[in-house]
Symmetry: C2
Subunit: 147 residues, 2 copies
DNA sequence: TGCCAACGTTGGCTCCGCCAACATAACAGA
DNA sequence: TCTGTTATGTTGGCGGAGCCAACGTTGGCA
């Protein structure tokens, strides 16, 4: 895009929904670049993270925890299995479920990703002081956790 | 989704990019609901707004001002023309260009939309005080206007 | 004149969120 | 025990959004 001609209407510049959208887009660009190093996308990262933190779980349980649809989860988990970052087995106690487990390779990839993703936040938030970053996180949390 | 089981990893809850994403999704949901009353989407609204504020312009100029790709702009403008919210004519001084003009019906629709979109912000920001809303806008602006 | 750039259009791609339908499996109630 | 309901994973599809490539038309410039 020709950045020099970029000049949106005044209302948009002050509209919280517009600002959130653009900030989120900038954040996604940074994060996606970080995730691309391991050839994964956002959902793959969050699934690896959830497994690392909560231990093995079924696809449905992961989806509920992370807010990912069952159908999307099936695709994500299939790709992670193909890349051997997770292992999948039918749960012997409930043969409807797939028990998803983090492999050592998955844990290693997660460690690398985590580092890059955290670094991406830094790039995103450079204009803000530490206090301002904390304040931003606080305000966003209140919006997100709206009853 | 079963909201009661929603419980993402700790890291995500504090990750600015994650918070931005979820807040932007909530904002989009509110704004899209507002825009649905006139059967338009975000780009249609911003194009109407830009025309109202800046007067007639070519599709390419609108795209540069708003950060919308030429191909997407072609589709948006075609839909707005079909709904008679804008008029399109070849520019007699440069027959490559389409001059896009807001119609009275377009201006009226924009007025209604603007009201609903502003109201949607209110719904989104209810958890925040006036000072906090201003602070949020200030912080987001600094991120968005990053050099 | 001939070459290059801008414009609008069409078509395509990826990512994300969501929904519908289906077969399998577990379970609860009569 | 049988029957209907629910949960699970899978496949396929849709729409919004951002992005890019290619094409014909038109303008401008050397």
């Amino acid at each position: 895009m020709d950045e020099r001609d970029y000049d949106p209407p005044r209302l948009l510049r002050t509209l919280p929904s517009w600002l959130l959208n653009r900030a989120a887009a900038a954040a996604s660009a940074q994060v996606n670049a970080a995730l691309a190093h391991e050839r994964v996308r956002r959902h793959h990262f969050t699934v690896l993270l959830a497994l690392s933190e909560g231990g093995p779980a079924s696809q449905a349980a992961l989806g509920r925890r992370l807010g990912i649809d069952r159908s999307d989860m099936a695709a994500v988990v299939a790709e992670l299995e193909r890349d051997e970052l997770i292992a999948r087995e039918r749960d012997p106690h409930d043969r409807r479920r797939n028990v998803v487990t983090l492999t050592p390779a998955g844990a290693a990839a997660l460690a690398r990703l985590q580092q890059r993703v955290v670094a991406a936040q830094e790039a995103l938030l450079t204009p803000l002081s530490a206090d301002e970053r904390a304040e931003l996180a606080r305000l966003l949390s209140r919006i997100v956790e709206q009853p």
